[in-house]
């Protein structure tokens, strides 16, 4: 296993950070590394808001569901799918442009995700730790107002970056043969059952406190209710009308 693959497989989310700034210029280097990721038709449908204002950070702690590391990390970034820039660039060539296609929502969501993951790898290669903040979608309208996000731009996730002040365990993943299938889809119920045992054992022995649960049980609260039911109307209001 080469050093890059070792780095990739040593990822864990970091939620406690040293009170320490990034060296001058490093954040820009990380973002450039992010931009080097593949982008659909070179569209680069993303913008990143670096939140520095302390009152905005405090507000974001609250809007993301009370995650204090949003304000205590060294850099808090909001990754946005941005169709405004390419739509306007295309329109400036004098053509009528079409917005709101479902395909455009997918392209922008994938584009910003690939870019963000490169930022993560670059950050971790510099000894930094990160945590994605999906909670940015808890109150996307309020986040959009706070960060003045215009139409055709939506906040996909946040990211905390900083120097780790703890060493969380690496969480197990599904067996590779559940995820990787040959030539056609096949069910993976057997592998999931095995993984439920793996996760139960992990939760019993992990450093951060044991709990009596497995993977399937942990997923249940995500699906036995309508999680973030506002996303549809929010996206439509933002011009991602899913035509």
């Amino acid at each position: 296993m080469n050093d890059v693959i070792k780095l990739l497989t040593s990822h864990r989310s970091v939620r406690k950070f040293e009170a320490r700034e990034l060296p001058e210029g490093l954040l820009e280097t990380l973002i450039k590394a992010g931009q080097a990721a593949a982008t659909s038709s070179h569209i680069q449908a993303y913008s990143v808001i670096r939140v520095k204002n302390p009152s905005s950070l405090e507000k974001l702690v609250e809007l993301t569901g009370g995650q204090p590391y949003v304000a205590s990390c060294s850099e808090f970034l909001v990754f946005c799918a941005d169709m405004k820039r390419p739509l306007e660039a295309a329109a400036r060539t004098g053509e009528d442009v079409v917005s709101g296609m479902t395909e455009q929502l997918l392209v922008a969501t994938v584009d910003v995700s690939l870019m963000a993951q490169n930022v993560v790898i670059a950050a971790e290669s510099e000894g930094l730790g990160i945590c994605y903040i999906g909670g940015i979608r808890n109150n996307p309208q309020a986040v959009s107002e706070l960060l003045e996000l215009p139409k055709h731009v939506y906040p996909v996730f946040g990211m905390c970056i900083g120097y780790p002040a703890h060493e969380p365990d690496i969480k197990p993943r599904l067996p590779v043969d559940a995820v990787l299938k040959v030539d056609s889809y096949r069910d993976d119920e057997t592998q999931v059952a095995a993984f439920d045992s793996t996760m139960h054992a992990y939760y019993q022995s992990r450093k951060g406190g044991n709990k009596d649960a497995n993977w399937s049980q942990n997923l249940t609260p995500l699906f036995n209710q309508k999680l973030r039911p506002h996303m549809r109307d929010f996206l439509i209001e933002k011009g991602f009308t899913m035509k």
Copy 2:
């Protein structure tokens, strides 16, 4: 700049591959590196179909718009957003589950993208080249039938992996200060104008043949028509009903 960041910033899409297989076990290592990426609430909402069957590969060349490297690369993978596995796992705990939420479409699309980008970095760290194939969404219904993708699973993109048989130029990216904004969104029309000049110069001088175009002009055909207008109905039919 450390070696990992050098690797990240040297990415370019590869579309010509040596007729050479990956060493035994490497693909599994790449997928495991992919799985190590962050995943929303540990949901791991992805499956990857490794297409080995030569007649399926030929069919996929056609379905993705006639891209021959889909069949001539060493490994062709179809990355799928997979909500079937977590939905069924949650249902097996005895609860009624909710599917089709827009939020679930986003979570699964982000999850598979983060995972895929880790696969890319792992592959490139081993001297491999890759090309994402968004053309998998040209005919997603036919792709789904070919790969027997069930409900709650949709093909997001393909990926060609293999040993590069050419050395494409690295394509420029938007200026970092267009993408990275502080505290609030601001327009980047000036930076886009500068980038149009950068891209015009790039197209005039690149190895692969010059063309008289800039970034905005290249984007126009993506927006002056309804690109992949079938995606909405296809997703709904697949159980991603965008509620």
